[in-house]
């Protein structure tokens, strides 16, 4: 009996010792500075107030976040990941996850994401865009679909019911456009880029039944793309000045400053539009899913583990721990309390009583409804940024009038796509 007790005690001690050593090893590996390359997000800025919490959790590691705006962040992450690999954690998004994953610039997240942080709690749509080739590559920091956001006061004054179809939407935009009174019908994105003008054009293209590829053959050069482009250009006649070469910032800025009647934009717009700190029209804003047959542009941005800067398993685990902590329920709760609507990604947070208390039951319903029409509109391929950016340039030329023939532009893109596929083989 004594021998058995001694044996059990020895095994227990050995287990305890090995666990302790493992913990010590991780703590020792996590003692440096985790370098993060990201784009500005309120949620990440908030994290910086809790650096000491992460230091304690990781056994002494700290973190440092460098911020660049979206286009620059995309260029810099690509350049860094393919060359020197200075950053341990990259902020990547739905448009380049395939490129980063297939090039081996990021590691499969779930291999290093501690199970207790409950990845399955993230919104299923965001999980979907974070997945490529059957593996999860990033933990969402923002994401969602589209909502039609409108000025209730202007629609009521004009006797217009919130549009349910695209035809009704176009008619309403035309009627509400009153430049002489400083009100524009809508605000679109004209700036070149797969995440800019192409992003807002794609719901029309997919809504009209368009497709990018059939296997490796481009099939987008058809009547759906022509119709989508014609409609987009038609709507641009009623779009706020500055949006012809502007992106998200210009479109959202025009709406929140009270110069736009209605627009279809990514869901974070609602959080900004109803917040009196960032909006002159808070209290006058309504929101609904995009009018039929438009599909919502499903997107997700998040944090991924860089492979070059994290040469060994311990470094990858450390980066995984940082990502898990940064996107944890605790930190999302803090973002909710700080009224950072666009930074919320977990189902448990979006269904919490505090969420309904802050944003009302309508927004929760609108998000649920728009989830039903949210789709992956872009071509899920490592070559997508290249193709999308090329179409962005042609589309910007069409918007600003340096090119007028839509079909010719699509034919040029078709040739480019064929060349792109040939080069990738």
């Amino acid at each position: 009996m004594t021998k058995a007790k001694t044996l059990v005690s020895s095994i227990a001690f050995a287990c305890l010792l090995s666990t302790g050593l493992t913990t010590l090893a991780v703590a020792a590996e996590c003692s440096g500075t985790i370098k993060v390359l990201a784009q500005p997000r309120d949620g990440l800025t908030l994290l910086e107030d809790y650096k000491s919490e992460f230091e304690k959790l990781s056994g002494g590691a700290s973190f440092e976040i460098d911020y660049l705006n979206e286009n620059d962040r995309r260029a810099k992450t690509k350049a860094d990941a393919s060359t020197i690999g200075k950053y341990n954690v990259y902020y990547i998004d739905e448009a380049n996850v395939a490129l980063f994953a297939s090039a081996g610039w990021v590691a499969p997240l779930m291999d290093y994401y501690p199970a207790e942080y409950d990845y399955a709690d993230f919104d299923p749509g965001r999980q979907k865009v974070a997945t490529y080739d059957g593996k999860v590559w990033f933990a969402p920091i923002t994401g969602g679909g589209d909502l039609m956001v409108y000025r209730k006061d202007l629609l009521e004054a004009a006797g217009i019911a919130p549009p349910k179809t695209l035809d009704e939407y176009i008619a309403a935009v035309k009627k509400l456009n009153q430049p002489d009174q400083g009100i524009y019908g809508t605000a679109l994105r004209g700036q070149r880029g797969s995440g800019a003008n192409v992003w807002r054009w794609m719901p029309l293209f997919k809504g009209f039944g368009g497709n990018w590829f059939d296997g490796k053959t481009p099939v987008f050069d058809g009547e759906q793309a022509v119709k989508a482009t014609e409609t987009y250009l038609e709507l641009f006649k009623y779009s706020a000045p500055g949006s012809q070469t502007g992106g998200w910032d210009e479109a959202v800025g025009a709406f929140t400053s009270g110069q736009v009647a209605m627009l279809i934009e990514s869901t974070p717009l609602v959080g900004m539009a109803i917040d009196p700190k960032s909006s002159k029209v808070a209290g006058k804003v309504g929101y609904l899913p995009p009018p039929a047959p438009l599909t919502g542009g499903g997107y997700g941005h998040g944090l991924a583990i860089g492979t070059k800067a994290n040469k060994d398993e311990a470094s990858k685990a450390c980066a995984g721990l940082f990502i898990a902590w940064a996107t944890s329920k605790e930190n999302e709760t803090r973002r909710l309390e700080a009224n950072q609507f666009s930074e919320l990604n977990r189902t448990s947070i979006m269904t919490a009583p505090k969420f309904a208390e802050l944003y009302g039951p309508d927004l929760g319903q609108a998000l649920a409804d728009t989830g039903k029409v949210t789709a992956v509109n872009f071509w899920q391929s490592p070559q997508w940024p290249d193709l999308g950016d090329r179409w962005g340039i042609i589309l910007e030329e069409l918007i600003t009038g340096t090119r007028t023939d839509i079909k010719e532009g699509l034919d040029e893109l078709d040739g480019f796509a064929k060349d792109l596929v040939a080069r990738s083989q």
Partner: protein, 286 residues
């Protein structure tokens, strides 16, 4: 005597060594990879000979970028020198020496501003709804003025910011050069009833020919590096209306495609073209 002869080598060797590492190694590497088909996402590449160079001449964006770069060079260098000479003479003729010093100080402020900051300030100033520079037009006509979204005005608008930075700075230099000239030729010309225009056109400016040519060369080199200004203000748009060669090369290398070999072939061609052009101009001037 022997020691005296080896002194230049002692001083030159470290400088040439540093230059070789910093300039020649990247240049040689750029030439090397321009003959390959390397992309950022695929580090392995094979030699493709002159295929990248051949592709460039059927690439409409490259052809457009050559035109934009030449226009940018001509407009910014020409306008900067015109403004600098005009303003320099105006200050020399019409302003008291004490006031000149104060204005010179003010004229130096734009060039001290970091280019990216200046670009952001002016981008906002040209905003059709909120911009201070477009406000008078909007107030008078009731119509917004969107200069950066118009392909016909975008390049000129960005060039205006470049000229604002460098034209005022060069005006100060021209003013100080005029102050160093001896007064006797001017007095003699005035005694002969020469008009002010004639004094400057036939006496002052010919006397300043050498420093003005140097200023032109400095500006030509500076204008080749306008990437930051254009990138912030228009990103090469609308469409490709303000896309210069360096911007297109960067775009191909890092923003859109990751085609570093293709981008390198552009960089190599730019290097060859600028070397030939500058050598030719330099020889002509001499």
């Amino acid at each position: 005597m022997k020691q005296k002869n080896s002194l230049p080598a002692v001083f030159l060797t470290p400088a040439i060594g540093i230059l070789a590492v910093l300039a020649l190694v990247p240049t040689a590497y750029a030439i090397y990879i321009s003959f390959q088909n390397r992309e950022l996402s695929r580090p392995d590449g094979s030699f493709v000979g002159f295929a990248n160079y051949a592709d460039l001449f059927s690439d409409r964006r490259f052809i457009n970028a050559i035109g934009v770069s030449l226009t940018w060079e001509a407009v910014t260098v020409g306008m900067t020198l015109l403004i600098a000479v005009g303003l320099g003479i105006l200050l020399f003729e019409c302003v008291s020496p004490r006031m000149r010093n104060l204005l010179a100080l003010l004229f130096l402020v734009p060039v001290i501003l970091p280019r990216v900051s200046a670009a952001f300030v002016w981008k906002f100033a040209f905003h059709p709804l909120y911009g201070i520079a477009t406000y008078p037009y909007k107030a008078i006509t009731g119509e917004p003025l969107d200069l950066l979204s118009n392909p016909a005005t975008a390049l000129a608008t960005v060039a205006l910011v470049d000229v604002w930075q460098w034209g005022l700075f060069f005006a100060v230099i021209v003013l100080k050069l005029l102050e160093t000239l001896p007064p006797q030729p001017f007095e003699a010309a005035r005694l002969d009833h020469a008009r002010t225009f004639e004094i400057y056109a036939f006496i002052a400016l010919p006397m300043l020919k050498a420093p003005l040519i140097s200023l032109a060369f400095v500006k030509m080199i500076e204008s080749l590096r306008a990437f930051d200004l254009i990138y912030v203000m228009t990103r090469g748009g609308p469409g490709i209306a303000t896309e210069t060669l360096d911007m297109y090369a960067f775009s191909q290398g890092f923003i859109e495609s990751g085609r570093i070999s293709y981008a390198s072939s552009m960089a190599v061609l730019m290097m060859i073209a600028t070397t030939i052009a500058f050598t030719f101009i330099w020889k002509r001037v001499q």
